[in-house]
């Protein structure tokens, strides 16, 4: 049994590393030709042989950042309510709603937003077509909330009950306990929730493909159309396999890979600190 589990872990690990090399080897001509910088910092215009992915890096960052701005306060609010005010049945209902939310397929969020949110944004702001960074950030924020809420609730609940009882004995109200004790004690847990949320937002393809507009221009504002790295991969996938245009996909994959890798490193660092503090 142990052997089986170990084998499963090995396969997973090898796959992850293999993906890295699978991107590196076919993408090597791109990296070795020295125009890596031009590709990373340039614009995208296949008709004049420009294959830079900077607008997509900016698009991805802006949309994922926006999603965090929307999702974090929302998730914190729900987590606070769940932890202090909701007791028994109410808490169960709230948490099962959150779980239900995470079970809804992404495409459903995308479709509903396409029908209702896009025209709404277009009519509210008299610029742009409604397909924008703002639209996809709003929906992505909602999409990453369940993950963040569950992690936040676990972190807040995980605070040592003895400390909580001690605070209560000293006369702290539930809100005071939350603000002065649980919040600071659970900070690493909350942080890792945010990092996980960011990872999900960055990796999501469908929402941005459906709602962000996918324009190849560098976005100049939140109401403008933008393209994410993931949507870019999906859009360029069908072009001629041997073209430089296609090879730029590897670079996009590479950037996303590095980004996820960095997030995992941050998570590990946060976790590490959390454990040291617990001891």
């Amino acid at each position: 049994m142990t052997r089986l589990i170990r084998a499963a872990a090995m396969v997973t690990g090898i796959c992850t590393i293999a993906v890295f090399f699978m991107m590196l080897i076919p993408g090597w001509p791109l990296f070795s030709h020295g125009h890596l910088l031009a590709l990373l910092a340039g614009g995208w215009n296949p008709t004049s042989s420009q294959f830079g992915i900077l607008p997509m890096i900016v698009g991805s960052t802006a949309i994922a950042g926006g999603a965090l701005l929307v999702g974090t306060p929302l998730s914190l609010g729900v987590a606070f309510v769940t932890v202090i005010f909701a007791r028994g049945r109410m808490r169960r209902i709230l948490l099962s709603c959150v779980r239900l939310m995470s079970g809804v397929p992404t495409v459903v969020y995308g479709f509903v937003a396409l029908i209702y949110l896009v025209p709404f944004i277009r009519s509210q702001f008299h610029s742009g077509s409604g397909f924008s960074i703002l639209t996809s950030s709003l929906v992505l924020g909602l999409l990453i909330s369940p993950t963040m809420i569950v992690l936040f609730v676990n972190a807040l609940d995980g605070v040592d009950p003895r400390a909580r009882r001690a605070a209560a004995t000293l006369g702290a109200t539930p809100v005071q306990r939350l603000l002065y004790l649980q919040l600071s004690e659970a900070l690493p847990g909350l942080l890792s929730g945010v990092v996980m949320g960011l990872g999900r937002a960055m990796g999501d393809t469908f929402i941005s493909l459906m709602l962000a507009g996918n324009s190849i221009n560098m976005p100049g504002g939140v109401l403008e159309s933008a393209r994410t790295l993931t949507a870019h991969i999906a859009l360029v996938m069908a072009v001629d396999f041997h073209s430089l245009e296609f090879q730029s996909i590897y670079l996009c994959g590479f950037v996303l890979y590095l980004f996820t890798f960095m997030l995992v490193l941050i998570l590990r660092a946060v976790d590490h600190r959390f454990q040291r503090r617990r001891v």
Binding site: R122, N214, N217, L235
Partner: protein, 275 residues
């Protein structure tokens, strides 16, 4: 349990009806064996894939492989004997035909029409106006006689065959503004335009329905009859070429494409049949 039984019955019924339905047109493939390699134009792929599926279901010994690559690649590969059938979204040039001794069959027509929302009052554009709109030189509907509101441009991804025809024949290779929204399919384009009263985009003529309004280009409204009789110019034929006259399985496949059933597949995929 009942549900499962019902499911099985349904699948079985589906299988039967398929077999009965497929019998006449696919009869020629009976007793045949071998591989047909097809490559080239991407617009052809959904049709050829469906054909391959139906043939394989009728006679699993006949295998049709489908690859993309683009029209140029299709012509080159069939000419050099790398594949049996080369697809192209354009007619092969005189030079290509004589150099490789190609025989080509046109089995579908793909027209591309400009569309706007039914709420839009602009229903007609000249080629020059269209070029300026897509290049971003005209950016307000007011300049075209419509409402005073910015124009929302919708474009397709660069691998799209629909886009290729549109840019070549409607825009005469004019530029498309980088700020245009990009959607992934004819269906997505229709949804976007139907929902955006200030949007303008283009779809395969077979996709135009009541949710979007076709825009007349230089006075000609893009409709299926207008594409068929050649009066609407933004169209192209979908061709398949073989080196020399098609023989064996390749000939059977091309015949099947031109059969009523093959032409039905063509129409189901949003193209216009040739028969």
């Amino acid at each position: 349990m009942k549900k499962i039984v019902f499911c099985f019955a349904f699948i079985a019924a589906l299988g039967c009806s398929n077999a009965v339905f497929a019998n006449n047109a696919l009869e020629a493939f009976k007793g045949q064996e071998g591989i047909v390699k097809v490559a080239g134009g991407t617009a052809h792929i959904p049709v050829i894939k469906e054909v391959a599926k139906r043939i394989a279901r009728f006679n699993p010994k006949v295998i049709v492989t489908v690859a993309g690559g683009g029209s140029g690649v299709g012509i080159r590969q069939v000419g050099e004997g790398l594949v049996d059938i080369g697809n192209a979204g354009r007619s092969a040039t005189e030079e290509e035909i004589s150099h490789y001794n190609l025989v080509q069959v046109k089995w579908a027509v793909d027209g591309v029409g400009v569309v706007v929302s039914p709420k839009n009052s602009v229903k007609s554009l000249s080629t020059k106006q269209l070029q300026q709109v897509f290049a971003g030189a005209i950016s307000n509907w007011k300049e075209l006689g419509g409402e005073d509101h910015a124009i929302d441009l919708y474009d397709r991804d660069s691998a799209s065959g629909t886009r290729e025809v549109f840019v070549k024949k409607a825009l005469k290779k004019g530029a498309v503004n980088g700020g245009a929204n990009v959607v992934v399919s004819n269906g997505a384009m229709k949804t976007a335009i139907a929902g955006d009263p200030y949007g303008i985009g283009y779809v395969s003529v077979g996709h135009i329905d009541s949710t979007v309004t076709p825009v007349a280009l230089d006075g000609v409204v893009p409709t299926i009859p207008a594409v068929q009789d050649g009066s609407y110019p933004v169209a192209r034929g979908l061709y398949s070429s073989t080196r020399g006259k098609a023989t064996g399985l390749s000939a059977l496949l091309l015949n099947y494409l031109l059969s009523p059933e093959g032409q039905k597949i063509v129409e189901e995929n949003g193209f216009i049949g040739v028969k």
